[in-house]
């Protein structure tokens, strides 16, 4: 009876308690790591934020047009603060992953491994998106100013379309990099883009034939000198 008690009841309980203690210590270790990560992350964020402010990082971002975009989207109060938050996020994430590794379970090991394999893709997608935002802003503004100076009535539309297409390309490229429904995205983009072009072609063909003809004539036929045209020299 005693042997049975020892083997059937106490031994499993002892093992359970050992496992519980081991798990609990791992959990405490994880919690300590996360807590440490939070504290160090917060400190790093403050240091990075203040350092970048001293280095006039916000001014540089304003020049590139990123600052106003960040403000407009409400992502952060400034670029240097956002950079601080990114550093904080990386530290907290690292702490979390370190904690998961410390748990030594196959599931967490596998999760950490997969995360590190995915990280380059994540960073590449982030870079593609940021470059896309910058290029779309620059080209959009270029198109806007050129169209206004050329006296085109739909300057804002042209600018918005320029930005839209550049951003769409960037997002498709970023999602492709992340491997999210790669085929679906490419097909969707092709259908959307093709659809827009087809719709524009049909609309132009049916509704604005005269407009298209006039436009092409104005572009390729030599223009007679309009009455009242400027002959002034600006310089």
């Amino acid at each position: 009876m005693r042997q049975f008690w020892e083997q059937a009841i106490l031994e499993p309980l002892r093992q359970l308690s050992q496992q519980a203690v081991a798990s609990l210590s791992s959990l405490v270790g994880v919690l300590i790591l996360i807590l440490l990560g939070l504290v160090v992350g917060w400190l790093a964020k403050e240091v990075v934020y203040r350092l970048l402010r001293v280095l006039r990082f916000d001014r540089m971002c304003d020049r590139l047009g990123v600052g106003s975009e960040i403000e407009r989207l409400g992502v952060a109060r400034s670029c240097s603060y956002l950079a601080g938050q990114i550093v904080q996020g990386i530290i907290v994430l690292t702490a979390l992953l370190a904690g998961l590794t410390a748990m030594r379970s196959p599931w967490t090991q596998n999760l950490v491994e997969r995360f590190f394999l995915y990280l380059p893709h994540l960073l590449a997608a982030l870079v593609v998106t940021v470059v896309g935002v910058l290029v779309s802003r620059f080209l959009g503004r270029s198109a806007l100013i050129a169209a206004v100076n050329a006296g085109m009535p739909s300057a804002r539309l042209l600018s918005a379309l320029t930005r839209f297409f550049v951003m769409t390309l960037a997002i498709v490229a970023a999602l492709d990099e992340l491997g999210i429904s790669r085929t679906t995205i490419i097909v969707t983009f092709a259908i959307l883009f093709g659809g827009v072009v087809a719709a524009a072609a049909i609309a132009l063909g049916l509704g604005a034939r005269d407009l298209a003809r006039d436009f092409l004539q104005s572009q390729f036929r030599p223009k007679p000198k309009a009455e009242g045209e400027d002959t002034m020299r600006h310089l």
């Binding site: 006039r56 503004r141 100013i145 050129a146 206004v148 100076n149 009242g228 002959t231 002034m232 020299r233």
Partner: protein, 429 residues
């Protein structure tokens, strides 16, 4: 060691000539129709006014393919007093059309100044190859102040139609005058005389491969001469009539090249202009005779339409560049009916200073910034044309003088804002 711009052959040719008193430079690029007349005028001017001086006429050509060189050679000049050289034309010169119509003008000037340096010329006169109104007297007027009165830089002073040269009248002249304190009426005239001393100084500068040399060489020379305290004067040349090669050239590109150069030079010569108050006239040589001017037509409704569109479509850019107070006033003006529209000179000067500050602080891409000034500039021209419709040339000149004084009065605000680099600083100007 500085890069040698002259070929070995050209250098040997110049060295063989020995010491020169005068060098006349004619930069060209496809000017076969007019260059013969310009070279003949130069030869006649040198013979008439400087018969006892050793002089050389140099045509620096930038890869003409219309027979420009043949046109120069057919002028039957004494080969001892004529030299043909080529200035390098880099790819950028072929792709972009500079406002002055001579690709590689900076390279041409550098070539001419280098020849002047080797030949130890005392005075250099440079004239455009597309001039139709040039006379032999121009060379006396451009060279005499250097040779006899020891001036270093002789700027041209032309008689122009009241609607001719509106960028010069509304921005370049008032701004240069207010900044550097010298009243040089045509700071980007194109024809000028300089001393050998100043030519050597120009050669030492590291600008010859920059955009300043490519597109803003005229304003750079004028600004450098004034800011570095060389003796500057003006000579009255009458009317400037020349072949306009590209009358429909892009206005915004012109603004980028000229206004962008002025804004850029504000950074180079920050110390030179920050302590200048008011302005002094630059001495004027020559008799200011009356001349007939070519008629100029101006399309005010089209300019106003461009102004209104700019105020509407470029508002997000203006919000970043112009102070809220002035933007409000500008938009209120833009909302007025066409017949009541006036852009006050004070507001205009504040706008120009605001753009200069935004350029300095790199609020947005610099090309975008200066290009976005185009609709506002057209608004000012439309307003100016309305106000001066029935005014004489003298009355218009008085009006420009008043505009210049406003620029000078507002300069203190510009100075106080210049060193503030934060984006909040725009609220003041």
């Amino acid at each position: 060691m500085a890069e040698e711009i002259l070929s070995d052959q050209a250098r040997r040719q110049v060295t063989a000539l020995g010491h020169l008193d005068i060098l006349v430079g004619v930069p060209s690029c496809n000017n076969a129709r007019t260059i013969g007349h310009v070279v003949q005028a130069a030869q006649a001017g040198l013979l008439k006014y400087f018969p006892d001086q050793r002089a050389l006429i140099v045509n620096s050509d930038g890869s003409s393919n219309d027979g420009t060189r043949e046109a120069v050679l057919s002028t039957h000049l004494d080969t001892q007093s004529l030299m043909l050289v080529s200035h390098p034309l880099y790819p950028v010169h072929r792709f972009a059309t500079p406002y002055h119509g001579v690709p590689g003008k900076g390279s041409a000037f550098r070539t001419l100044f280098r020849i002047a340096e080797i030949a130890q010329a005392r005075a250099v006169a440079v004239v455009d190859a597309d001039l139709r109104s040039i006379t032999p007297e121009w060379f006396d007027l451009l060279l005499r102040p250097v040779l006899d009165a020891e001036f270093d830089y002789v700027a041209p002073y032309y008689k122009r139609h009241k609607y001719d040269g509106t960028i010069t009248n509304s921005i370049i002249y008032p701004l240069t005058r207010a900044l550097y304190g010298r009243r040089v009426r045509q700071p980007i005239g194109g024809d000028f005389g300089i001393s050998g001393r100043l030519a050597r100084r120009f050669l030492t500068r590291d600008v010859w491969s920059t955009d300043v040399a490519r597109y803003g060489i005229d304003i750079w020379m004028t600004t450098t001469a004034i800011a570095e305290r060389f003796r500057v004067c003006q000579s009255y040349l009458g009317a400037k009539i020349h072949d306009v090669k590209d009358p429909g050239s892009d206005l915004s590109a012109m603004l980028v090249q000229v206004v962008g150069s002025v804004f850029s030079l504000m950074e180079t010569y920050e110390k030179a202009w920050c302590n200048v108050v008011g302005s002094e006239p630059a001495p004027l040589f020559g008799f200011a005779f009356e001349v007939g001017l070519e008629p100029v037509s101006i399309n005010v409704p089209r300019m106003l339409a461009a102004f209104w569109q700019g105020c509407h479509d470029l508002l997000p850019i203006y919000e970043r560049v112009i102070s809220p107070v002035h933007l409000k006033v500008l938009l209120a003006r833009a909302a007025l009916p066409a017949e009541q529209f006036v852009l006050p000179d004070e507001l205009w000067a504040k706008l120009v200073y605001g753009f200069a500050l935004a350029y300095h602080r790199r609020v947005i891409d610099r090309q975008h910034l200066v290009k976005s000034l185009t609709p506002l500039y057209l608004g000012w021209v439309a307003s100016f044309a309305r106000q001066t419709e029935n005014e004489t040339a003298a009355q218009v000149e008085e009006r420009i003088e008043k505009l210049c004084l406003i620029y000078e009065q507002l300069k203190s605000t510009l100075i106080s804002q210049w060193s503030l680099r934060t984006k909040d600083a725009r609220s003041e100007l």
